[in-house]
Amino acid sequence: MPPGCPFNPRCPQAEDICREQRVSLEPSRARLVACHFGGLKTLLDARDVGKTFRRGRRRMQALDAVSFALRQGESVGVVGPSGSGKSTLARILTGHLATDTGEVTLEGRPLARSWGRAARAQRVRIQLVMQDPWDALSPRLTVEELVREPLDLAGGGGDGGDSAGSVAAALASVGLPASGNFLGVRSHELSGGQLQRIALARAVIIESELLVADEPTSMLDASEQARLMVALRERQTELGLGLVLISHGIALVRKATEGGET
């Protein structure tokens, strides 16, 4: 028998220790679990997160002591009316905005906001799918360049052949063609649904652990919505990603997630 935990090749949260050391059955969280991490890792932990926006003398409190935790592979839905601070929460969770109070921890380490290399490496683990795909994707780049960008930034560009394969695989995994024609198309020639799926492909082409989707379907029509949610769920299941789904439609969130936060 090879050393380490037998599930290590398939496990989405496997680390080096899983390859090296065997593990025995121990009680954890009211169950008996044989895992170095005592079961599913807590990926994301937001505690007492608060954010107030100041404009001159006016103050607007967007978030007030929001707390929740997310484990590996879990989905959490965040529902609320417009203006309830959902997008603010999304941006805080992904490290694009700093909190005023409280703390966000990703894989046990606090989420950093600086430009430094270590901070950037950490932020890659949690990806944001934005509401407006036309804004989120540069109109100047072709589909291929768009899907390649995260790969190039992660330094995994390597040689052209390698990344071309990854791009094609990522596109196929969200239900988009990987033909030469399609690769050369620019964002203004595509529909909202296609663009959101490209955004999803970008988020999963690198090794991220967690996806935060901020109203990903609100700019799409019904059939595109369904297709996007299918692609999202498929990617999540296959890669074992955590998912925070933010929406104003409670039906959508219910269909897609298990946990709840309103």
Binding site: W115, R123, V124, Q127, D135
Partner: protein, 276 residues
């Protein structure tokens, strides 16, 4: 590039090309040397001198062609300088923000309040008005509005989703500038360059008209200055071929750059950018 097919833009391209050709190929195209008296004074247009001669007997056509050099040099030089300084300041202010931004914008505001022509006149009179001096002066005059415009575009680009996405993928500042910012600023820079060039031609001509130019160089504005200094110039028909063509040359140079800018505007705001 379909934007450049509009008739106005084409006219602009044509005029600017004419200007460049005249400036670059002056020694080859001009029938005579511009500073050598080659005919009788005040000669009316003839086959020998298609635009006549001035008071010193110098061929007007040659002076028109050679004059393009001064105008083009000043226009391109000043625009380049204005964009170099304004671009750096504007981008830095937009990207870094904070104190740097505030300080830079206050400086820009102060500089913008100073009236251009009087300041140019004062400094050119005091410091001498050679082509290099005038180019640098005009360039320094136009960097503040350039900085403002570029800073504004940088700020709006900084907030765009695709910049945030890139940051989310781990992009550092150099990558963002190289990949996203510069290509988005490109069209804006082109349009503004042409606008500054157009203004620079006008300012150089105005300065020369006031007598602030290198007296040994050939300049359109200076020709008009000398023409109007001749007593009774309006009463001879010499006005018609001395002042009028020179004035039109200045006008066409300005118009060329302006039309080029008009033609480039659609490139600045293509259909697919409207989403922002």
């Amino acid at each position: 590039m379909s934007a450049l097919r509009s008739p106005l833009a084409l006219a602009g391209v044509g005029l600017v090309t004419l200007l460049v050709v005249a400036a670059v190929l002056a020694p080859v195209i001009a029938p005579y040397a511009p500073d050598v008296p080659s005919g009788p004074s005040y000669a009316s247009p003839s086959l020998d001198h298609p635009v006549g001669t001035n008071n010193l007997g110098q061929d007007m056509l040659s002076r028109l062609i050679w004059g393009a050099r001064a105008s083009l040099t000043v226009a391109v030089g000043a625009a380049t300088l204005a964009l170099a300084i304004g671009g750096v300041v504007g981008m830095a202010a937009g990207l870094v923000g904070g104190v740097v931004d505030t300080v830079a914008m206050r400086v820009v505001d102060i500089l913008l309040a100073v009236p251009r022509l009087p300041l140019l006149v004062l400094v050119a009179a005091l410091a001498g008005a050679g082509v290099l001096t005038v180019t640098v002066l005009i360039g320094l005059m136009f960097w503040p509005p350039m900085a403002r415009i570029i800073r504004s575009r940088t700020l709006s680009l900084r907030g765009r989703g695709f910049v945030e996405s890139a940051r989310g993928f781990g992009a550092g500042l150099p990558y963002l500038i190289r990949r996203h910012l510069l290509s988005a600023l490109g069209p804006l820079v082109a349009v503004e360059f042409v606008a500054v060039a157009s203004n620079a031609v006008l300012l150089e001509a105005s300065l020369a008209f006031l007598g602030l130019a290198d007296p040994t160089a050939v300049s359109w504005g200076l020709d008009i200055n000398r023409a109007l200094a001749e007593p009774g110039i309006y009463f001879t028909s010499a006005w018609l071929w001395w002042v009028l063509p020179t004035g039109f040359a200045i006008t066409l140079a300005i118009m060329g750059f302006t039309l080029l800018g008009v033609g480039l505007e659609p490139v600045l705001n293509p259909r697919w950018e409207r989403g922002s």
